[in-house]
Amino acid sequence: MSGPQGGTERLSALSIQRWTPLSRAFTGGALALAAALIFVPVLLSANVTQKLTSLFILIMIAVMWNALAGYGGLVSVGQQAYIGIGAYGTVLLAHQGLEPYAAMVLAVVLSGLVSVPASYLLLRMKGGQFAIASWVFAEVFAIIVTLRVDLGAGTGISLIELNRYGAADRQAFTYWLTLAATTITLGLIFVLLRSRLGSSLQAIRDDEDAAASVGVKVMAGKRILYIIASTGCGAAGAMTLANTLFIVPSSIFSVKWTAFMIFMVLVGGLGTFEGPIIGAVILFGIQDLFADEGGWYLVGLGMTAILFALLLPRGLWGTVGERFGIQLMPVGYRVRGLGRTGRSPTGVAPADEAAVSRAEV
């Protein structure tokens, strides 16, 4: 084997790269953009503000689903449970007399709390079982809400407490809260994926048993990821309520949310940090242009998803990023300086060959 002879000298010529000048510039630019977006409600129309709020919500849930499925291998069909809990939790708490924006923040915490016992139930299952069980879990919450008359039952409920603010203020507050939540969740997921836990999660996604055999605490890793992703979806639910002011259980707990999440992540690129954000922008564009077409718009979405699955299975960013070796928000590692060592990876020392030729077959 090409042993470690003279290794120290050659090894010290190598370095581990995580950031590139391009990715530093891009990440800096993204932070600057987030800062600039603070001024949108002041400078642009209420209509633009509301639409951008919807876009941020889409980005948030796409990033959360990608973290779950693309980095943790947890293909959930039930994250709408937490979107609904975030929304109805806000209504419940506001009805108790809490200031509505404070109620939203608390409802997000509530989503996270619900996900803890749920994780003990759901993470016992794997693959398809987990997917279906997570969906059933969401349906259970939808049914509970439908049976509660004080929550408007099946006909839905408004967050009337928000009426204490004027329409413009309300739209601006909601926008800022959503912008903050999106920036924080994206930042959190980015830091998480770059951390030790992030690479452990990717190992779990690729092969759970092998991950355990090198020391990864599989269940703990999955649980942390599930709780974070569920809390993020709870935030998306609370923001959706604040943005639309009215919710119906059949819609807020609808599996269509999962369809949207899968669409955004597949089109953008599963298991890439950048992909889901691109996917969210695309879905937002399609919704904005074609949402009035009714059923045909959903057919179009489905067709687009199928085309991507067939022709660009790694998604837009998965394909572009890989072809050009670009990572704008890098979560992985690259070893630099290998070219200089000029050693064949299968090189055999002569002594080894002698040993082999002596061996009988």
């Binding site: 090894l11 030790r196 990717q202 055999s213 990876p345 060959e353």
Partner: protein, 247 residues
């Protein structure tokens, strides 16, 4: 029998899957700095024993001891963190991660390394296993030889006291197996105890000082490699003479 302090041992291990008894009262131990080979015909229970030692299977009966303390039934990640490294028979790379990242996961969880120290250790292990040049390749893009090396590299990055190798030479050419032998010899010289299942006995005996032969869920011979390979029960198990001749 171990000539030094016992690192890892199993006593009275039975493992049943329903009505099928795969391990039937196995006693096994490996001393620190010792290299033990396990041979035996297919279905003898070798891999099952390794699974029990690595914590990926719970024995139906019996105890697994690491440095004298029981670890029976502890999860595999605990075994890894204690210092029991493991290379699978069918390589299981983390397909979507690079070779370097594959090893980094092992170094930073099982190995307990952090930051620059973890990077440094990964590069050393990759160099030792002849994978350095392939550091940035994705796991799933590797061929069999490199997958086997990666399996070994990951096990080493967990800083094992004892490493369990399951047929890591199978399917390799003699030349490739020879390279592997050099790496494992190097490990041994660094003081890592080795338990190695291998069908290719002439490769095995270049490294191990003791051989254990299993058949039908039991240890039928244990001792000096030459003596074990000459043992009547071992020859019988391998050549499959009539059942009546078996003791």
């Amino acid at each position: 029998m171990p000539n030094t302090a016992t690192v890892l041992s199993a006593t009275g291990i039975r493992k049943r899957f329903g009505a099928l008894t795969v391990l039937d009262g196995v006693h096994f131990s490996v001393g620190s700095h010792e290299a033990v080979g396990i041979v035996g015909p297919n279905g003898a229970g070798k891999t099952t024993l390794l699974n029990v030692l690595a914590g990926s299977l719970k024995p139906t009966e019996g105890e697994v001891l690491f440095r004298g303390e029981t670890i029976t039934g502890a999860p595999p990640e605990k075994h890894s963190r204690l210092g029991i490294g493991r290379a699978h028979q069918v390589p299981r790379p983390f397909g979507d991660m690079t070779v370097f990242e594959n090893v980094l996961v092992a170094a930073s969880t099982g190995g307990g390394h952090r930051g620059q120290q973890a990077y440094r250790r990964c590069l050393e292990v990759l160099d030792l296993c002849g994978l350095l040049e392939l550091s940035n390749r994705r796991g799933e893009s590797l061929g069999l030889l490199h997958r086997k090396r990666l399996e070994l590299a990951r096990a080493l990055a967990t800083e094992p006291v004892v490493v369990l190798l399951d047929e890591i030479g199978a399917g390799l050419t003699d030349e490739e197996a020879g390279e592997l032998v050099q790496t494992i010899k190097q490990l041994r010289s660094e003081g890592v105890a080795i338990v190695w299942i291998e069908h290719i006995v002439h490769v095995l005996v270049q490294v191990v000082s003791r051989l254990v032969c299993m058949d039908a869920g039991r240890v039928i011979a244990d001792g000096d490699p030459e003596a074990v390979m000459g043992d009547a029960a071992v020859i019988d198990a391998y050549l499959g003479s009539s059942a009546a001749c078996r003791s």
